[in-house]
């Protein structure tokens, strides 16, 4: 467009400016305005006529006298049309934007609220602020590496993600998992459910004003995270449950550690129920707020504790049992009213039931191997690599190209702390998935927000949203 490159470093020339023609008070006549338009909008004029030399080359600046804001600031023009009488309508409707940085949205959820006074007429959830393309990433990772990817989706229950992914891959492969590995998986995921629900009750209490609840919830979750750290080496994103079993056996003395968790969490749950259940402010803010009927829950795909609080009697651990969970006794708590209070009560009871499952796992932990002995899936023990050529080859193949899964498609779902977490895995026979789709529970829950919140008032948005326990990493993936 222009002959003289004006962004050459150290070569910026002092511009020879021929200012636009116009009157001296700064306003432009028609010709000047057209020329300014040509220069700045259409770009048909040599654009270095007002370039300024800087360290990084020539910088363009707007001419002062055509910037309307500057004209108003310098007093040349007066902006007196900020009150436009005919556009003011005589009702109270307004649009309120909430998020994505609002602390009560538990992440980066954004809500558009249309309000009449304080009543919500319409609400629109806007998501995607945490989208990182994990489904696309999964296509570039081998089946062994995939665990590190999926564990980051729902970051409050990473082990549930890993379990679902591992079960899907094992279905494709057709490998059997030893009983001890299955029991360890149940132990870890149920502890993870308690940890996830504890952080939920902490943030839920905080959102509706019970600030001490937040400290208690985080304190008790710490006991579980310390156990996770001892077993897996990490507090989050463990990559502990892998296709073929788990990464390592439980450490020495794990029984005492789990007993210690019971002491902390079991006593804590009684305290929290004393703290909240009789609190009139808590009850006022939760009872009858954000009601979801069973039919709505089913139509919108809402599952897990939120659907069970509405009275939908469905738990994947009972309906489609996985990883040997059918051998443990536990009850599925159900709500009657589908409101925020019922969601709180259901989750509190779920934590007790999870403790019950973990107690049974503790008593009946079978001996044996913690991963399958199929050498095509599991790397050989370190010792064998020095002795056996086959082991060396298997080890090398596993960590370079990974194992291959036969062609096929599976849908595997597990009961995550937030509902049905499903993975649809398509293989074309290679060592990487052709397609991995993750059906996350929070995505469906966020979608059902308008059903629950229409005709409520603004403070109830906070209480309802907190009671749904959405994790935005889970929504956006």
């Amino acid at each position: 467009m222009t002959d003289t490159p004006h962004n050459v470093e150290g070569d910026a020339q002092a511009p020879t400016i021929e200012p636009p023609t116009g009157s001296t008070d700064g306003s432009l006549d028609a010709a000047g305005r057209r020329r300014a338009h040509d220069i700045w909008v259409a770009g048909t004029e040599p654009r270095d006529w007002i370039a300024h030399a800087t360290d990084e080359g020539a910088q363009e600046m707007l001419p002062r006298d055509i910037d309307p804001a500057l004209r108003i600031q310098s007093g040349i023009a007066v902006d007196d049309d900020y009150v436009d009488e005919p556009t003011i309508i005589d009702d109270e409707r307004q649009i309120l934007n909430m998020g994505p940085q609002h602390p009560a949205t538990h992440g980066v959820l954004r809500l558009h609220l249309e309000l009449d006074g304080e009543t919500i007429l319409r609400i629109k959830p806007i998501i995607g602020y945490l989208h990182t393309g994990m489904e696309k990433t999964a296509e570039t990772l081998t089946y062994m590496q995939g665990g590190t990817n999926v564990t980051r989706m729902d970051y409050l229950s990473p082990l549930t993600n890993e379990l679902c992914y591992s079960l899907a891959v094992e279905q494709l492969l057709g490998v059997e998992i030893p009983p001890r590995a299955q029991a360890i998986r149940i132990l870890m995921t149920e502890l993870n459910r308690i940890a996830s629900h504890l952080i939920w009750v902490a943030t839920f209490g905080m959102d509706i004003g019970a600030l001490s609840m937040m400290i208690y919830g985080f304190r008790d979750r710490e006991a579980i995270l310390a156990f996770f750290e001892k077993v897996t080496g990490l507090r989050m994103n463990h990559n502990y449950i892998r296709p073929g079993g788990v990464a390592a056996d439980l450490p020495e003395g794990w029984e005492e550690d789990v007993d210690g968790i019971f002491d902390v969490v079991g006593a804590g749950l009684d305290d929290y129920q004393d703290l909240l259940n009789g609190n009139p402010i808590f009850l006022d803010r939760t009872r009858g707020v954000g009601v979801l009927t069973p039919a709505e829950a089913q139509a919108y795909g809402v599952t897990g504790p939120v659907a069970r609080a509405s009275g939908v009697n469905f738990d994947l651990r009972k309906a489609f049992p996985y990883s040997g969970i059918e051998q443990y006794e536990f009850d599925v708590p159900l709500g009657k009213h589908g409101d925020t209070l019922d969601r709180y009560l259901v989750r509190m009871e779920e934590m007790r039931q999870s403790i019950r499952i973990v107690e049974q796992v503790l008593e009946t932990m079978p001996p044996g191997d913690y991963r399958t002995d199929d050498r095509k899936v599991t790397p050989p023990p370190r010792k064998r690599i020095d002795e056996s050529m086959e082991a060396l080859i298997h080890h090398f193949k596993l960590f370079t190209e990974g194992f291959k899964a036969p062609a096929g498609e599976v849908y595997q779902a597990v009961e995550s702390p937030r509902g049905e977490l499903g993975m649809y895995l398509v293989s074309k026979g290679g060592s990487k998935p052709w397609r991995l789709h993750v059906r996350t529970p929070s995505f469906a829950t966020v979608q059902a927000l308008p059903v629950m919140m229409t005709d409520q008032i603004v403070p109830d948005v906070i209480a309802t949203l907190a009671s749904l326990d959405p994790v935005l990493g889970d929504v956006d993936r």
Partner: protein, 188 residues
């Protein structure tokens, strides 16, 4: 669950099991048999994995999708679970839209597949039948570029509005980030 099914030695056998049952619905399943009567052109397949429940799949043409999904809902599949899509790239039709439904009453799942050609990638929307399909169809449109006829608000959902392309398509490269410090390090 594992002891109920027959263990398989060779994972390759999985394909054969699918083939064997591809002729029609399993006779011991009354719900699917009833559906097959009303829709003779729908192909039912069934797959028994080593662990976990049986997986039933129905392959439907685009024209029949709405009436079939309506019939499936009336047959007791009241819960919406999922809509997703798969890009098979060199296959004809190129895409599959996969609808996942659940019957809590009968404790049964049904996966409905619709083939979508690459040069005319539209599918009728089921969001009038299952309200929950709304966001999921937007996600498929956003990431795979399959349009849904009759969807109330078919806009991008997880990507910015001005994004160009549909990343989950197989011909969309993951791209790369230029390396910032490429030059050799000055050794002292």
């Amino acid at each position: 669950m594992a002891e109920e099914t027959t263990p398989r030695e060779d994972p390759q056998e999985m394909d054969e099991i699918v083939e064997e049952t591809a002729a029609g619905p399993r006779p011991n399943d009354p719900i699917l048999a009833g559906l097959a009567e009303g829709f003779p052109s729908v192909v039912f397949t069934s797959f028994n994995p080593l662990v976990g429940p049986r997986q039933d799949t129905a392959t439907v043409s685009r024209g029949e999708l709405i009436s079939f999904v309506g019939a499936v809902k009336n047959a007791g599949f009241e819960t919406f679970i999922d809509v997703c899509s798969v890009d098979h790239l060199n296959r004809d039709p190129r895409y599959d839209v996969v609808i996942n439904l659940l019957s809590m009453k009968h404790t049964q799942r049904l996966i409905i597949k619709v083939g979508v050609p690459g040069d005319d990638s539209t599918v009728p929307s089921i969001s009038q039948i299952y309200a929950g399909a709304n966001f999921y169809e937007r996600e498929v449109w956003d990431l795979m570029g399959i349009a849904f006829d009759g969807h109330p608000d078919l806009t991008r959902i997880v990507l910015p509005d001005e994004w160009v392309g549909h990343p989950l398509r197989k011909d969309y490269s993951v791209g790369s980030v230029p390396v910032q410090f490429k030059g050799s390090h000055k050794s002292s």
